[in-house]
Symmetry: C2
């Protein structure tokens, strides 16, 4: 056992030292009018001097609210996605603190599914609401929280949920649609898409944007030009990139679901002496810090993770305080960041088959 630290003063102690009842001290600190100005001052002075802060537990018990907001982070991902999470957490924490709440972070370990951890957090009443990141197309966390009527905000969207819920998302469909149109204007005709096998909703929408724009121009994305990799397997990304670059005809433009993938693809292209952007245009999403320093810099979309976090936090606070009718889901546009990884399509060259 650790040596018990000097115990913090509690209401009982303050009240006996002041010769007042617990009730009066509590009400004085809360600023109620049924305690005289003189007493109020006396109480406040004493509380300040003793550094009194009400016990969270006592408060929770009577109010039913914990004053905490929960975030369940999934088992550890690749390095790049962790970067997202870190920034997101810092942004959330800042915004929640502004509203007098604190953020608690629980990890879904290897052996506990996220929804189980969530159930634990919710049923243990250790959070008045939760934030969900990394939405899946069909997400059991969303179903569960809706069933339980627990306030939550989803960063991202799910597909096919009829009940209303609060989400915040970046419009990847529009972004990749516009990127694709731009590339078509630059002469590109053979496209590829590098994405994740996990049914991440954002990857879905980005693909929809790409395919929609292609269709509008009478083009299409052949199945073999879509490479999907698990986000837990670094090596697989290289193999997938390699496969895309071996296609015949080889795509002249590859859109990547995230910057993390784009950077890997850039590496693989370099190894095969495929010049970017002369031979190949690459476009990513997220505007990771590294993307600016890759050579060439990755052309990408910025969605200001910290801003997203702040919005998500504000939405959740509003949801908790005022109910679901007070808050609208929100779709924000991503900013296009033009850097060096895209350019005009290379002059048409005969396919390997035509040569052979």
């Amino acid at each position: 056992m650790a040596t018990k630290g000097r115990r913090q003063p509690r209401l009982k102690e303050l009240s006996s030292e002041l010769g007042l009842s617990i009730t009066t001290v509590s009400r004085a600190l809360a600023g109620y009018s049924d305690v005289s100005a003189a007493t109020r001052e006396r109480v406040r002075e004493m509380a300040a001097r003793r550094g009194y802060v009400p016990s969270r537990a006592g408060r929770m018990l009577v109010s039913g609210n914990s004053g905490f907001v929960g975030l369940v982070v999934p088992l550890r991902d690749s390095h790049f996605i962790d970067a997202f999470l870190g920034e997101f957490i810092v942004g959330l924490s800042e915004a929640f603190t502004d509203s007098g709440r604190d953020l608690t972070i629980t990890t879904a370990a290897r052996d506990r599914r996220e929804v189980d951890v969530l159930r634990h957090v919710v049923n243990g009443q250790q959070a008045d609401g939760v934030v969900l990141t990394r939405a899946l197309s069909e997400d059991d966390r969303v179903t569960y929280l809706l069933d339980q009527q627990v306030p939550f905000v989803l960063h991202g969207r799910v597909l096919g949920e009829d009940r209303p819920y609060v989400w915040f998302d970046t419009d990847g469909e529009t972004a990749f649609g516009e990127a694709t149109r731009m590339l078509i204007d630059l002469g590109h005709r053979d496209f590829g898409y590098l994405t994740f096998t996990e049914p991440l909703t954002f990857a879905h929408f980005r693909r929809i944007g790409l395919e929609g724009a292609l269709r509008d121009h009478g083009l299409n994305l052949p199945d073999q030009a879509i490479a999907a990799v698990s986000r837990f397997d670094e090596a697989e990304v290289e193999r997938a990139a390699d496969r895309l670059l071996s296609l015949d005809p080889r795509p002249t433009a590859i859109l990547c679901a995230t910057d993390g993938l784009a950077i890997k693809l850039l590496d693989v292209a370099a190894k095969r002496s495929i010049h970017v952007p002369a031979d190949l245009s690459i476009i990513g999403f997220d505007n990771l810090p590294v993307s600016a320093y890759a050579s060439p810099g990755i052309t990408t979309f910025d969605q200001s993770i910290q801003d997203s976090a702040v919005h998500v936090a504000e939405m959740l606070v509003k949801l908790i305080d005022q109910g679901i009718d007070a808050v609208e889901p929100r779709l924000v546009q991503a900013d296009f960041i033009a850097r060096g990884s895209h350019g005009p399509a290379p002059p048409a060259r005969p396919s390997v088959r035509a040569v052979g």
Copy 2:
């Protein structure tokens, strides 16, 4: 007011449904032997079916422990340091969850000093222990927590605190000492140091390492070759880097307290057509993801932030459970990551003064 969600079942409810007392249900779930095996099973089955999780508040109240561990994050810093924080948080959370605790994150907003926030967290009994990052040479947080006898682990060290406390640090002194010796062997004689004005202890030790190695070789670091910048002011970094590169004689090797600074310095050098590493060797610290992608890649030291976080978490858990005698402070060595930003000293060239 938000619509109250379906209330979670509590002990009282379970007990009345089972026709048992609250005590028995509680003890059955806790596995005490004074409840029959049959009853225990019956209780457990019911609890599982109803998804019962004990209320954190109730537990806290009686046990005096919150089950939370606190982290107070300082007001928002520059982008690069935030990257550190994010990774650190994810590592912490993972390790704490393994020990059955959760991490709470509170932000020191613009107007609240860190130590005040800390006082709030501690006196409100919302954490059984806290983690401190970014140690300052003289750190009022450490003084406060020692006074209050609150368990804490400091990531970093302070100077001149006599009482024992638990810290975890990376040996920047040895690292920069060795880097300096290596650079001396490569022919460098004129060194510079780019650091922070804030009295961050890690910057202090890194500088000690640099100066110690210089002294061993009869060299020294002139005052004007030390440039210190506030970590909140991006523009100042450029000015400082500029100033270092304008010295006469111009340093041929500049050590930077962090990779963030090193990258800025690299940019400024490029703008002035100073070639790295031909004209200037740069060495950083932290091994940020971007450092690998800068060109040339930054030679740096890796301290595996996630591993640090895990160690810090484990130390704190031990400290809380077993007391301060059970846990030793710990100094770990950083890994040298040789990349392209350092090399042999350029051939001696006459100083500006000698020419004029």
